[in-house]
């Protein structure tokens, strides 16, 4: 890295950004003016609406067998203090439904006989006996408020009438109970109070902490995108990118300077937004709830900076990549939206109850910041995990910057007319370029189907769909689409007997080693016990016969998943990454397909081992055997009630020795060299 060039390029980028009137107005001036205008405008509209509703006289009618009683009830309760501003006037239309249609009525009150009321309850479910009861009352007369929900004024009037009638019902019930000898006031049967031991600061911090990261991420993405859209896509469109890359500056320096510019502008704008928000709170433009108290010490502010400054760097780098992929400014604008929406999902991690930064979430970028920030705001900051989070986010940003620098060396990125040869040649070469796309689509389908199709709550249906519908058929489609050599993909060749023996020997050893590994991890990052229980429940579902479990959870995954992951995916990546990196990538992708957060790490570890075996043997069959034996072993152990986490450390060390020996044997006798 040439630091002098980097400095020069950064100053150059900042000068161009600051000279853009559009950027300055959109990022600094507009938010300062628009935010209070929007807030004041919304408040004005709300106030006007409230006044208008208070001044409205709602026209209603009463129908049905006990209309007179209902009329008396309404007259009596209309006088209550809480309904004093509720102005109503009774009308007497011949056809109330037609009157609703003509808008000459806002709503009408329909009294019903016991039979009618029971029928209405059966049809609509009723509102039960009261807001806090779950049983539906039958065998009593009914009262129904009929209105048109599409008219706001009518809806508000009807809702207030419902409130009034509920108050009337409660009061009438109490009256009846007292008159029949109930010993005290019905509400006085039990004195109940609640005592909250959390401080106001902790409560406010918890409430704010859940959405703090989302708010900052929205601000950061919006702020960074103002510059990012222009910084590569805009330059490509104007032709200045070509001018710059023919200068003496290196691509890494160009990408880094552009990243620094986006990062700087993003931080400045976000900081200014925070300052604006504080000023508006001070000026009472933004009204905080009563009892709202946030106690931010210098240390907490420092910790938040430590979390959000690397996060801003990662967001800036991601936006730079999006800008590089876009050919024009408009195309960049289109691409930003999915990134924007996608970033909100992990940012909402703080909303999940019980999730702590001292867990696997510390290694999930953005989600880790969200959780750690909530802990800081509630006064329960974990300094070690703040450090881990900052490092993980920083490394993510670094990797993304390196990737964006690489993009600037790609001809299809900088010279949009040019395309990769592989696109035309098709076959194996094209498959290598597209393999990630296939697995992304496969993941999206499994995720979408599992989340939206109720039938997939059944483990059998889900396993069959994923294994056969996604992995097996997906693999066949890839083989056919790219005319891949099946023998090459799955590695059909003779393997020596020590390999098979070593695979079988490795299975129990690997299970014990994995338990030891997670026990070590658990001492640093404790996993909540409820998560472990949930993992056990998902891995071995209850109520399934043993033979079905063996077929569906050991044999079928071994065949289908090995074909997809260790066959197609590993084959597709073979010329692109170092073998160790390939194992890690395939392992992680394998883990991500088991989309429950707490299953990712153990499955990814299994995926790495399986990828290693496939690479060492040049075939997926030993990995298939390992996979089937591993899952079968876990099922049998679970059925027998044997757990592996009660061994002492010498047993774990011995298991590690056996595992190492097995892996060495597989490596030694694996592929013919």
């Amino acid at each position: 890295m040439n630091w002098a060039s980097l400095k020069l390029l950064f100053v150059h980028e900042m000068r161009i950004v600051l000279r853009s009137r559009r950027t300055v107005v959109a990022s600094l001036v507009l938010p300062a003016v628009l935010m209070p205008l929007l807030i004041l405008g919304a408040r004005y509209v709300q106030r006007r609406q409230a006044i208008q509703l208070d001044q409205t006289t709602f026209k209603y009618a009463i129908t049905g067998p006990w209309a007179d009683q209902a009329r008396r009830l309404i007259v009596r309760y209309k006088a209550a203090a809480e309904f004093r501003n509720f102005h109503i006037e009774e009308e007497y239309p011949a056809d109330p439904d037609q009157a609703l249609e003509d808008r000459s009525l806002h709503f009408y009150v329909r009294t019903m006989s016991i039979a009618e009321a029971d029928q209405a309850v059966a049809q609509n479910g009723g509102d039960a006996a009261g807001p806090n009861t779950s049983s539906v009352v039958t065998g009593v007369p009914g009262l129904q408020i009929v209105y048109r929900g599409s008219q706001q004024v009518a809806r508000t009037g009807a809702e207030r009438m419902v409130e009034m009638m509920r108050a009337a019902r409660r009061s009438e019930s109490y009256g009846v109970m007292l008159s029949r000898g109930f010993p005290s006031h019905p509400e006085g049967i039990l004195a109940m109070t609640a005592s909250n031991v959390a401080t106001e600061t902790q409560i406010s911090g918890s409430n704010l902490g859940r959405f703090f990261t989302v708010i900052l991420v929205v601000w950061l993405v919006a702020a960074c995108s103002i510059v990012a859209m222009d910084i590569i896509a805009g330059e490509k469109e104007r032709g200045t990118l070509e001018t710059l890359i023919t200068s003496g500056a290196g691509r890494a320096e160009i990408a880094t300077a552009k990243h620094l510019a986006i990062w700087t502008v993003g931080l400045v704008i976000t900081f200014s937004q925070v300052v604006y928000a504080l000023v508006y709170v001070r000026l009472n433009v933004i009204q905080l709830p009563d009892n709202f108290a946030i106690d931010l010490s210098a240390q907490s502010i420092g910790q938040l900076f430590l979390l959000f400054v690397p996060l801003a760097a990662a967001i800036a780098a991601a936006l730079l990549i999006v800008s590089a992929y876009a050919r024009t400014y408009k195309e960049a604008q289109l691409h930003f939206f999915p990134l924007f929406m996608g970033s909100l999902v992990p940012a909402l991690a703080a909303v999940l109850p019980g999730l702590k930064s001292r867990s696997i979430v510390a290694f999930v970028p953005l989600a880790n910041v969200s959780v750690a920030a909530r802990e800081v705001l509630t006064g329960r900051a974990d300094p070690l995990m703040i450090g881990v989070t900052a490092i993980v986010t920083g490394l993510t940003a670094f990797a993304l910057i390196r990737y964006s620098a690489k993009l600037l060396t790609r001809e299809d990125i900088i010279v949009s007319a040019q395309q990769d040869e592989s696109v035309l040649e098709g076959g194996d070469k094209l498959f290598q370029r597209r393999v990630f796309h296939w697995f992304a689509v496969m993941w999206a389908i499994t995720f979408a189907v599992a989340a939206n199709v109720p039938q997939f709550e059944s483990a059998r249906v889900q396993i069959l769909f994923n294994q056969i519908g996604i992995f097996f058929i997906g693999s066949l489609l890839m083989l056919r689409r790219y005319r891949l050599n099946v023998r090459e993909v799955i590695g059909v060749h003779r393997l020596r007997w020590p390999v098979w023996a070593a695979v079988l020997m490795a299975v129990p050893a690997a299970q014990v080693v994995a338990v030891a590994f997670f026990r070590i991890v658990n001492t640093v990052i404790p996993t909540p016990t409820e998560l472990l229980r949930e993992l056990g429940r998902q891995v071995v579902p209850s109520g399934m016969p043993m033979w079905q479990m063996i077929v569906l959870m050991a044999i079928l995954p071994a065949i289908c998943e090995e074909l997809a992951f260790r066959g197609l995916l590993l084959h597709g990546l073979r010329n692109r990454f170092h073998p160790v990196l390939r194992c890690l990538i395939v392992g992680i992708i394998f883990g991500i397909f088991h989309y429950a957060l707490f299953r990712i790490a153990p499955t990814a570890l299994l995926g790495v081992i399986l990828s290693g075996i496939a690479l060492m043997t040049g075939s997926i069959f030993p990995a298939m055997l390992f996979h089937a034996a591993n899952n079968g072993f876990a099922i049998v152990m679970d059925a027998a009630g044997i757990t592996l986490n009660r061994f002492d450390w010498s047993t774990y060390a011995a298991a590690f020795g056996v595992f190492f020996l097995a892996m060495h044997t597989i490596w030694r006798y694996g592929r013919e060299r």
């Binding site: 161009i16 853009s20 200045t240 070509e242 001018t243 023919t246 003496g248 040019q418 395309q419 040869e421």
Partner: protein, 254 residues
């Protein structure tokens, strides 16, 4: 054509090849194993029709894109192994290399001098001399977006040679310009050659090639069909006009 790329020629191109995909035509060998050398202080012209491979060749020489095979050396720097060295040794000008609209003319020239590592203490003197040489003193402090096309052209050439490179590449520099502006560019090329620089110049306009080039390479479908002085080409073909010579090589004898 056999070329020794290890010689002292400031530009030595050896078996340079570039293949890429065109959606409608399929896989194209845009440049197919071309070799040539440029001498000191000469204007070397690449003459060819649209799509002949001129721009692809010059983009490879300026390291915007990398060759599929073959290589080239510019003042001893290999375009594949040392692209930064190549870029600092040369200036690249084309119709698609635009200027930053929000910088002034002076800032533009100064930025490109510094980014190409022109000595810091001499940058201001160099910028002043270029501003005065191209007659843009009056507009030096005006943002590029407010300059006329002719002025922009001058600033563009000034920024190309801001770091005083020995090699300057002009890729169809007069495309889209009116006669007066085109003449200004031609004059600038002539002057740069007179200063001892080596110019590689691509065009499809015969009169420009005739007027400016010391040697002309006729390029067609990625191949160099002939490479000689205008006199040499005339002697080899027996034809006088470059247009006729070009057609003879491209279409074959009538």
């Amino acid at each position: 054509m056999r070329v020794d790329s290890s010689g002292d020629a400031p530009v030595a191109v050896c078996n340079l090849t570039k293949t890429f995909l065109d959606e409608s035509r399929g896989l194209i060998r845009a440049v197919d194993g071309i070799s040539f050398q440029c001498r000191e202080s000469e204007v070397f012209g690449l003459l060819g029709a649209n799509g002949a491979g001129k721009t692809t060749t010059l983009r490879m020489l300026s390291t915007i894109i990398s060759p599929t095979s073959g290589t080239a050396r510019i003042l001893g720097h290999d375009i594949v192994k040392n692209p930064s060295g190549v870029r600092r040794s040369m200036g690249f000008y084309s119709a698609s290399t635009a200027l930053y609209p929000r910088l002034t003319a002076r800032e533009t020239i100064e930025f490109f001098a510094r980014i190409n590592q022109y000595p810091d203490d001499k940058v201001q003197a160099r910028v002043n001399s270029l501003i005065s040489r191209f007659g843009i003193t009056e507009y030096a402090g005006v943002r590029v977006e407010k300059l006329s096309t002719g002025m922009k052209q001058k600033v563009s050439i000034a920024r190309t040679i801001a770091h005083n490179p020995r090699i300057v590449i002009f890729d169809e520099p007069t495309i889209g310009l009116d006669v007066l502006n085109a003449l200004e560019v031609q004059k600038a090329i002539h002057d740069l050659r007179s200063e001892g620089r080596t110019i590689i110049f691509s065009t499809h306009i015969m009169s420009e090639a005739e007027k400016l080039c010391d040697r002309i390479a006729i390029i067609h479908r990625g191949h160099i069909l002939a490479c000689d002085t205008l006199a040499g080409l005339r002697q080899a073909t027996g034809l006088h006009y470059l247009e006729d010579i070009f057609l003879l090589y491209v279409r074959g004898p009538a």
